[in-house]
Amino acid sequence: MKTHLFCGLTCAALVSACSSYPRPEENLANSMAVARGASEAGAAEVPQAQLQLKLAHDQIEAAKMLMEDGKYEEADYMTLRAYYDAELALALAREEAAKRGLQHTERVSEARKSQLSQANSNQE
């Protein structure tokens, strides 16, 4: 009797905690994937991106813990945060790459320009 009551109470508690919210496995996986992507894009070398990436990782861990506690809805929102933190980290890493690319191209262009003008003046 007591056990049943206990079980019932537990179940009720469990049910209220679980509700019908699904376990956010996919969202977690997605955010982990984006975080990996950001890391591979060199986010660790870009200060701002690194910060965002750390945030993402922290939140991913927090989400995992929430999931273990059965707090799926909270975990889900946490993974979403992590996802966009990682996305931002990735965007920042890509921006850095684009900036470096531009600098490189400009350097090459300058060098080429002076090379060509040298050649021109040599002709005269």
Binding site: Y84, E95, A98, G101, T105, S109, R112, N120
Partner: protein, 352 residues
């Protein structure tokens, strides 16, 4: 409910407090405002729109639920989306700029290449025309060489021809052609012997063709037999006869003179018959024309006006290949291109 949401509701009702905006929402609004002002509006409208949607959703959630953690999350995400949109816009700008710079570099290189191409074509053209020039110069040189060879041959010929008819010698006065009196005149006469006509004609021919611009003096001489005055007259008449004949054959009249020297200049001993025979002569002294040079060694020195150069006129007027060049060159109608021979005119046509 959370304290913040209660406060925000209260504040909204009170219509006056400004610190009621939950921090996450404030962040999200700021982030969106920043993104909107940046390049995202132009370059990344899609991303910006996503951020706008997220902000609207967050605002709505705050309105509906207050500052629930759902609302906070949505605001957080909205802020991130705004920043992502902004960052992506800057990335796109950098990439566009990179493409632009690359295109500029390419255009520069193209221009340089074209320039190089046209320079190359110009140079090739120059080379071609220089080659052509060189070729034509070489041709001219070759023709000159041939001409000169021809002239020399002719001069040689002339010399040989003349040598068969008369004696030819070189002195400081010029080439001296000695016509033996016995061959050309009957004794005591000043008319040309008929048999001498042909020879005289040949002499004239050679003179006219090889030295058309030459200056000549015809001088008659006799031996010492007979009266001096008589000899003087005879020698003068014979000289005249020769002169007239030469003029009639094309020698320029103003370039030939005649005089008699009688017995005053013997070249042999008058005591012997041979000596006397040798003294009876008519001499034609030929000086090449002014400026005429040609192959002769002394030919290129001291060329001045004809008579004046008598003393220093180069020997070998007859053997002077230059003479041949004159005529030959003129006969072909070419004027001296760098040729050192006389720029004679009228070729070998007779002059009166």
């Amino acid at each position: 409910m959370s304290k913040t949401s209660f406060l925000s509701v209260a504040c909204v009702l009170a219509m006056g407090c400004s610190e009621a905006v939950p921090p996450e929402l404030a962040d999200a609004r700021q982030a969106y405002a920043d993104a909107e002002q940046g390049p995202a509006a132009q370059v990344n409208p899609a991303g910006l729109h996503e951020a706008a949607k997220a902000l609207t959703k967050a605002e709505a959630t705050y309105e509906d639920e207050g500052a629930t953690f759902k609302a906070q999350d949505r605001a957080y995400i909205a802020a991130r989306k705004a920043k992502i949109a902004e960052t992506q816009a800057r990335t796109m700008q950098a990439e566009q700029q990179t493409a632009k710079v690359r295109a500029q570099t390419r255009a520069m290189e193209q221009a340089a290449l074209q320039q190089l191409g046209s320079t190359k074509r110009d140079l090739q053209g120059q080379i071609k025309s220089q080659q052509n020039q060189l070729q034509s110069q070489q041709q001219i040189l070759e023709q000159e060489r041939e001409r000169r060879q021809q002239a020399e041959k002719l001069a040689e010929q002339a010399r040989a021809d003349l040598a068969r008819i008369a004696q030819v010698g070189e002195t400081e006065r010029g080439t001296v052609i000695t016509l033996p009196g016995n061959l050309f005149f009957a004794s005591g006469k000043s008319e040309l012997l008929p048999s001498a006509q042909a020879k005289m004609s040949q002499v004239a021919q050679v003179l006219v063709t090889t030295s058309p611009d030459a200056t000549m003096q015809v001088e008659g001489h006799t031996d010492s037999q007979g009266a001096e005055k008589y000899n003087q007259q005879l020698s003068e008449q014979r000289a005249q006869t020769v002169r007239e004949y030469l003029v009639s054959r094309g020698v320029a009249a103003d370039r030939i003179t005649s005089k008699g020297l009688g017995e005053s200049q013997p070249i042999a001993d008058n005591k012997s018959p041979e000596g006397r025979a040798n003294n009876r002569r008519v001499e034609i002294i030929v000086q090449p024309a002014a400026g005429s040079a040609g192959g002769g060694s002394g030919a290129q020195q001291g060329q001045g006006a004809g008579q004046g150069n008598a003393g220093k006129a180069s020997p070998g007027a007859m053997g002077n290949p230059g003479m041949g060049v004159n005529t030959e060159g003129n006969a072909k109608g070419k004027t001296g291109s760098g040729d050192t021979t006389t720029p004679t005119s009228g070729g070998s046509s007779p002059r009166r």
